[in-house]
């Protein structure tokens, strides 16, 4: 198994090196192969991680990290496929070769850093990996080189870096907390910190946890430090938007989860849960309100991401095992659903040459494949059965009621409904409202439809009958998070 860990953290790098050479076809092919290979490797890790935590050197995988790995690897593969079609429309650019080289270099490095983040063993390395995701993705956001892209990239890199500065402070305070048990010099690996449990100094751990929620929360998109998120998501090239939304936010949430794990081991679960509940509810509230009045298609989906990150935080904050399992499932299905939604939105934007919700009309007539798939993706995001998000959100709500967090659960349900309203109104307008036929009927590229079909398959599969191995994985993750060891 260790070889899988090493491969997962080297394959995207190899693809990045080849992309640097600048042969567009070669980098396309290799990125596709590496993306699928990483997905395969991540799936191969599932049975092992469900019962054991394979590790080698600085790398380590346990149930929690594999959950996040699956989401990221899936989106990496899907984006690799989608990019082939996406870049076809850019071929008219004068600087296409350079654009494609930068695009593939960036996408592969981005995927590499996001795959590495859940696999590294230790809070310090985790911070480094997350910081690399920031800088790489900031460059990707600026890739289109428009005024808006430059603005979004600058705001993003500044805010995320400042947030990660707080994250670094959290890391250092946690180092201090650990050094009282592990000695002056140690490497911040997870296992000793978790094993130290209640012997860590409480105030320091409390401080580190709050700083981590605030710092890494910037990248998760938690209120009130979410402001970069809609800008970056709307201005990045679509495959990158999908990766930002589906996996970058989740990977940052993974960092918060690690701090949660250590903090609840030391302080007991009630303090960290309360913190997460507060941030989660506020984020959800904000996102739901913004979704009602959003006119920009990609920003709409970006706020939906804020909403779902809020759901994740609430799910962990509720504390019931059922809800925690729901959160882990939610990470994967959200990646698939949000990927699909962005892919579909990308096609719509391509076709209509606008992101304005009010301008896109009668999508269902124009795009015979994408429009229904986009509709299904939105329905999935709104947690309609039979999709995976229905299962995961149902588990979170059921867990919340079981844990007697009635008020929070009711708020959750109400806000999710409000968000659904916003999303569905915009979507039905775009797809069903008849309008003057401005563009010819037809799909731009089959490459852009294929990943959506795959995503749909995943959503349905996980919604109807999740594989047994995956269920084991979630069970293991839940017991890890509940403090049952590493």
């Amino acid at each position: 198994m260790p070889v899988v860990l090493i491969l997962l953290t080297t394959l995207p790098l190899a693809a990045a090196v080849v992309s640097l050479l600048g042969r567009t076809r070669a980098s396309q092919a290799l990125t596709l192969v590496m993306g699928l290979a990483c997905l395969g490797l991540a799936i191969a890790l599932v049975p092992a991680a469900a019962h054991d935590s394979p590790h080698t050197g600085f790398l380590r995988a346990d149930a929690i990290s594999v959950v996040f790995l699956l989401g990221t690897a899936f989106l990496y593969a899907a984006a690799a496929v989608y990019s082939i079609g996406y870049l076809r429309a850019e071929e008219h650019r004068e600087d296409f070769a350079r654009y494609a080289r930068r695009f593939y270099l960036g996408v592969n490095l981005f995927a590499w850093s996001m795959l590495a983040a859940p696999l590294v063993n230790g809070l310090a390395l985790l911070w480094i990996a997350v910081e690399i995701t920031t800088v790489v993705s900031a460059l990707l956001v600026a890739l289109d080189n428009t005024d808006n892209a430059a603005e979004a990239a600058w705001k993003y890199v500044l805010l995320a870096s400042a947030g990660l500065g707080i994250g670094l402070l959290a890391t250092i305070v946690m180092y201090y907390a650990g050094s009282t048990v592990a000695g002056q010099s140690y490497d911040l690996a997870f296992a000793p910190l978790l094993a130290a449990g209640t012997r860590l100094p409480h105030t320091a751990v409390q401080l580190a946890f709050v700083l981590a929620v605030l710092g890494f929360g910037t990248k998760v998109g938690l209120f009130p430090v979410h402001t970069w998120l809609p800008d970056a998501h709307s201005e990045a090239p679509t495959p990158v938007s999908a990766m930002l939304s589906g996996s970058l936010l989740a990977v940052s949430f993974y960092a918060v989860l690690r701090y949660y794990q250590i903090a609840s081991g030391t302080l007991g679960a009630s303090f960290p849960r309360t913190v997460l509940l507060v941030f989660g509810v506020l984020s959800l509230l904000l996102a739901a309100l913004y979704l009602l009045e959003q006119r920009d298609l990609k920003r709409l989906l970006a706020y939906s991401s804020v909403e779902h990150m809020g759901i994740l935080a609430i799910g962990i904050g509720l504390g019931a095992p059922l809800a925690t399992a729901g959160v882990l499932l939610h990470v994967i299905v959200h990646a698939a659903a949000k990927g699909n939604a962005f892919f579909g939105a990308g096609v719509l934007v391509r076709k209509y040459r606008t992101k304005d919700v009010a301008t896109i009309r009668s999508g269902l007539d124009t795009l015979p494949w994408t429009a229904p798939l986009f509709l299904l993706a939105i329905l999935a995001l709104a947690a309609m059965p039979p999709f995976g998000l229905f299962r995961s959100e149902f588990q979170i709500v059921a867990g919340g009621l079981a844990a007697a967090h009635n008020a929070v659960t009711v708020v959750l349900v109400v806000l999710v409904t409000v968000a659904f309203l916003g999303l569905s109104v915009a979507t039905t307008r775009m797809l069903f409202t008849p309008g003057p036929r401005v563009v010819a009927r037809g799909e731009p590229s089959a490459w852009m439809v294929a990943p959506m079909l795959a995503g749909l398959a995943v959503l349905v599969l996980l919604g109807i009958h999740p594989p047994a191995d995956l269920a084991d994985l979630f069970a293991r993750g839940v017991s890890d998070l509940a403090g049952g060891g590493t």
């Binding site: 910081e131 460059l139 603005e151 600058w154 320091a204």
Partner: protein, 224 residues
């Protein structure tokens, strides 16, 4: 009753003095109108961090910190300021756009924020064998004032320098509470900073190429 505060000892006094100077350079950045001056102040502040690392290394017998001090000197005192000032020369902009507040109000806001940092830190009862707790409070104050700098300034260079100096504050904190951190991690942090600096530089250039200025006042298109 004698409310006198007893002196902290010579070592702690020197360390605290250096930390105070760090905070003062942060305040000076808040006041500096010339972008070049700001870059120089950043270099001076980084130099102070390196000196402090050497002081801690010498008195607390942590030889790894010498290496760290050397690396941080090379990177933060020489390479980063050089990169930023090279970019400044290309853009031929000298004076930062005026901030969102007047200088005196900026200083007052920053004093209040720094006071909050002091108060908050003193409540945590974190003590460390490497450096006195005052230095910790000062480090937190540096971080908070760096935030003020990033918020009130309206040009990309000041904002970037604000972030870099924020990292200096974190370095100060880490000298206090995590002096024994393994060298490999510290080096990784520094390397990461270098990558961030390069990316900041690229984005600053993108910004300058798009808008022909370093000001961020017109970055208001994206909202809602």
């Amino acid at each position: 009753m004698n409310p006198a505060v007893s002196p902290p000892g010579i070592y702690a006094g020197i360390a605290n003095g250096l930390a105070v100077l760090l905070l003062l350079t942060e305040f000076a950045m808040l006041r500096a109108a010339l972008l070049r001056a700001q870059v120089r102040l950043y270099a001076a502040q980084s130099l102070l961090v390196s000196i402090l690392a050497v002081v801690v290394a010498a008195t607390r017998h942590l030889p790894e910190l010498y290496v760290l001090a050397g690396l941080s000197l090379a990177l933060k005192v020489i390479v980063v300021p050089w990169l930023v000032s090279r970019m400044l020369r290309r853009t031929t902009t000298e004076i930062a756009g005026s901030g969102a507040l007047g200088v005196a109000s900026e200083v007052l806001v920053a004093v209040a924020v720094a006071a909050f940092g002091f108060f908050a830190t003193s409540r945590f009862h974190i003590s460390s064998p490497a450096l006195p707790t005052t230095a910790l409070g000062l480090g937190v104050a540096v971080i908070l004032v760096a935030f003020v700098l990033m918020v009130v300034r309206r040009d990309v260079v000041s904002q970037a320098i604000g972030f870099f100096s924020l990292e200096n504050g974190v370095s100060l904190v880490s000298l206090v509470v995590a002096a024994g951190m393994p060298l490999i991690l510290e080096v990784a942090f520094l390397f990461d900073l270098l990558v961030a600096v390069v990316v900041f530089g690229v984005l600053m250039q993108v910004h300058h190429a798009r808008s022909e200025s370093l000001s961020t006042t017109h970055l208001t298109r994206l909202r809602g």
